[in-house]
Amino acid sequence: MNPKRKQRLMIVLGLAALAAIAVGLTLYSLSSNINLFFSPEQIAKGEAPLERQIRAGGMVKEGSVQRDSESLDVTFVVTDYENDLKVRYSGILPDLFREGQGVVVVGKLEEERLMRAGQVLAKHDENYMPPEVAEVMQGKMPTDTLE
């Protein structure tokens, strides 16, 4: 094999090896860092895994936000107006967090219908609805407008 071909072969082999390592690492970290989204309905049916980081979303139920009087602990209910999910969180809620608004919470289910949230996301724009939440709410009406 002439030197030039040999060099080329080395380049190709090197590239292939690097690419393989990169793809391997990528898939590995991708598989361990994916957060699946679940609707309150799926969680109510028990489809979501316990003790694994997931995301859930829906509307903050009216009158459900309760602050602890000593610490920064807060509990609220995320609902699609048919199924409820209780959420516990410690810390500061985003500016646009309000009752009756769409939110996405990231955390682990401690038991059925009780989530320990590490992160609460409400969006920048008051007209904006997270796409997942919009899908969850499709065809479901807030009870107060039905009454």
Partner: protein, 667 residues
């Protein structure tokens, strides 16, 4: 009376600009195909005209904002009569329609700049470059006019007052972040146009790289500053104290930056050694495609992101088609023409060529990992396989080791010679730098934090390795000169650009390392008269009061900060309530410093007179953005290098020679 038809004038100017762009796309290109100099000569005036009419349209929209013309839907949705005038002018790009108009204006501006600063370029090259830019601009102007016309009227039921600009955007950071970012994004259209023109014209020689390089560097510098500004803005405006979230929209700007970084390095090899030609051209195409992809991701509303605002899916489809056409056509041209341009130059395994090749490979891998993490959730969603999100751990797990690896080679690159370099010599010159970096980097966390930390050491060793190897190179270069002054004079500005740019990365790495590992964040309850201690500082809330701003009311806290019992300064965080939108906003109180920032944000009223407060101690956080600025300065320094001006003079000589009919003699 005239003021009433300003939006129509703007709309009309926009249509004229589109016509100009279409002519610019077609006529000069037809001229190069039929070899008609007159047709080719249309390129420059058309680029000027297109920019002029875009500027008129843009000014008309600005005027509508300043005149509070709420019959224009876009103004009504994004402005308010109470909004201060300076935010009215910047509200023009506060939402979708205006952003795309600004995008097009900047594209027209780059085209105009090319038409003005291309005197050294052959006529057919100018014609091809401007024609390609005309095509891109036609696409975007069609997009504006068809799907996102900012001059749309709300008649006859016009609102009394506007809905106001999103309060998050009423800020100095927003005034400059989007224009800078767009300058970068759109700036890559120039090197893209050069790449396509080079492929079509069959000339991708050293001269081609010398034309394309300055444009690429400037665009890259703008993008660097734009990303840094975005990070800075998020840091002080969102009230979380985060500076990078691996949010899809941030990734969208990082992607062209990474491939653009690969591009400026690969251009260097092509210019100096004539190799990597096809690769450079491919990178140019990829980089601009990633810019378009970023635009698509941000503007289509397909993303769940902190940046996501209400959007219309029809627009997404349009940009997707535009993206598909651009990528498809340019890759087709590449596939048809690139094989003819290939030109192989041999080099040894240990040489600057090889190290830059490694740099390119690593940067491309980084681009691919970020792209994968960003698009994977979209892909799964489109296939109906569930909604997922990819969290920061994924990106950190891949990005950190790749960056460290990249930096290892970055330390070697500048000291290696082109074509071939002796490993022994390289080792001899760099051994001391390597050992020093290792020792200092290992000990530093002990001195700063009191205990050893693997990640801090890793970051510091990496940064020190970059700095010390550069210092060694500089030392060697100056030592061989008769006097240090003469040595400095002999070094080219391009070299200084490299030094400053690489130094910038080291500074950023120090910032990232320190703030990620030594950040102290506490969420506390605080009522007037109470205090809390964080990282040696005591934060005492003295007073809570209400304050009225031009278009908001605010709860303001007075926080006295002391250290070792001694009063240092007072901070005033605010929670604002913007009246028009009924939207609350956190206004952070910051005490910036070179070595640490103190950060106080008001969370929420807890009802019993106390507030939830977010107090943070952020060491070295400024270094993040300082480093990015240095990188941008480096990029620009490399452009003002003498050799790009010398080319101009040489080209002028060549032209006079042409005129004298000496073409044959010269050849």
């Amino acid at each position: 009376m005239l003021s009433k038809i300003i939006p129509e004038l703007g709309h009309f100017a926009l249509i004229l600009a589109l016509l100009m762009a279409l002519f610019q796309a077609l006529v000069p290109m037809a001229g190069t195909l039929t070899r008609r100099p007159l047709w080719m000569a249309f390129a420059r005036p058309l680029a000027g005209g297109q920019f002029l009419f875009l500027a008129i349209a843009y000014l008309c929209l600005t005027a509508s904002f300043l005149l509070d013309d709420f019959s224009v839907a876009y103004v009504a949705n994004n402005s308010n009569s109470m909004l201060p005038w300076y935010y009215k002018t910047t509200a023009v790009w506060g939402s979708h329609e205006g952003s795309v108009l600004l995008w097009s204006l900047i594209l027209g501006g780059w085209g105009f700049a090319v038409s003005q600063f291309s005197s050294q370029l052959p006529r057919d090259m100018v014609a091809r470059v401007l024609s390609v830019m005309g095509m891109v601009c036609s696409g975007f102007l069609l997009f504006v006019l068809v799907t996102s016309n900012p001059f749309e009227r709300l008649l006859p039921n016009m609102p009394q007052d506007g809905a106001d600009l999103n309060p998050l955007l009423q800020d100095f950071g927003l005034v400059i972040h989007p224009p800078m970012l767009y300058m970068g994004y759109v700036g890559f259209s120039v090197v893209f146009a050069f790449a396509i023109a080079g492929l079509l014209g069959g000339r991708l020689d050293a001269a081609w790289t010398r034309w394309a390089r300055p444009w690429t560097n400037v665009a890259w510098a703008f993008l660097t500053v734009g990303i840094a500004l975005g990070s800075w803005w998020a840091y002080y405006e969102l009230g979380w104290g985060g500076w990078w979230f691996w949010d899809p929209v941030e990734n969208a700007s990082l992607l062209p930056w990474l491939s653009g970084t690969a591009l400026i390095h690969s251009l260097a090899v092509t210019e100096k050694r004539g190799s990597f030609r096809s690769w450079t051209v491919l990178l140019a195409i990829i980089t601009f495609s990633l810019s378009l992809l970023g635009t698509f991701l941000v503007r289509s509303g397909v993303l769940t992101s902190v940046h996501a605002f209400a959007n219309d899916p029809a627009r997404g489809t349009f940009i997707l088609v535009l993206l598909g056409l651009t990528v498809g056509l340019s890759l087709l041209v590449f596939a048809l023409r690139a094989p003819r341009m290939s030109h192989s130059v041999g080099f040894n395994w240990l040489s600057r060529d090889a190290l830059l090749l490694v740099n390119n490979i690593l940067l491309v891998i980084m681009t691919v990992t970020v792209l994968l993490g960003t698009l994977y959730p979209l892909l799964l969603d489109a296939l109906g396989l569930g909604k997922i999100s990819v969290g920061p751990p994924y990106f950190n797990a891949l990005f950190v080791p790749l960056t460290v690896l990249l930096c290892v080679f970055m330390g070697l690159g500048p000291l290696a010679r082109w074509k071939q370099t002796s490993g022994r010599e390289l080792f001899k010159r760099l051994a001391a730098a390597g050992v020093a970096a290792l020792v200092i980097g290992m000990v530093a966390p002990l001195l700063y934090g009191g205990e050893w930390d693997l990640w801090v050491s890793l970051g510091l060793v990496t940064a020190l390795w970059l700095v010390l190897s550069l210092a060694r190179d500089l030392f060697d270069k100056l030592r061989n000169a008769s006097s240090p002054g003469a040595g400095v004079k002999r070094l080219s500005l391009a070299y200084w650009g490299m030094v400053v740019g690489h130094l910038g990365l080291a500074v950023t790495i120090v910032g990232v390392t320190m703030v990620s590992n030594y950040n102290v964040e506490r969420n506390i309850r605080l009522a007037p008269g109470e205090s809390a201690e964080i990282a040696g500082y005591t934060f005492a809330m003295q007073e809570l009061r209400e304050r009225r701003g031009p278009n908001f009311i605010a709860d303001t806290a007075t926080i006295a900060v002391s250290r070792d019992g001694e009063h240092r300064f007072t901070m005033y965080p605010e929670k604002r309530f913007y009246l028009a939108r009924g939207m609350p906003m956190t206004d952070v109180a910051l005490r910036p410093g070179l070595l640490r920032d103190l950060y106080v944000a008001m969370g929420e009223d807890l009802g019993d007179g106390s507030w939830a407060m977010r107090v943070q101690f952020k060491p070295f956080v400024r270094w993040l953005w300082l480093g990015a600025l240095l990188m941008a300065v480096g990029g620009v320094l490399a452009v003002v290098d003498r050799r790009y001006r010398r080319v101009k003079r040489r080209a002028e000589q060549a032209r006079t020679a042409d005129a004298a009919g000496l073409e044959g003699a010269r050849a």
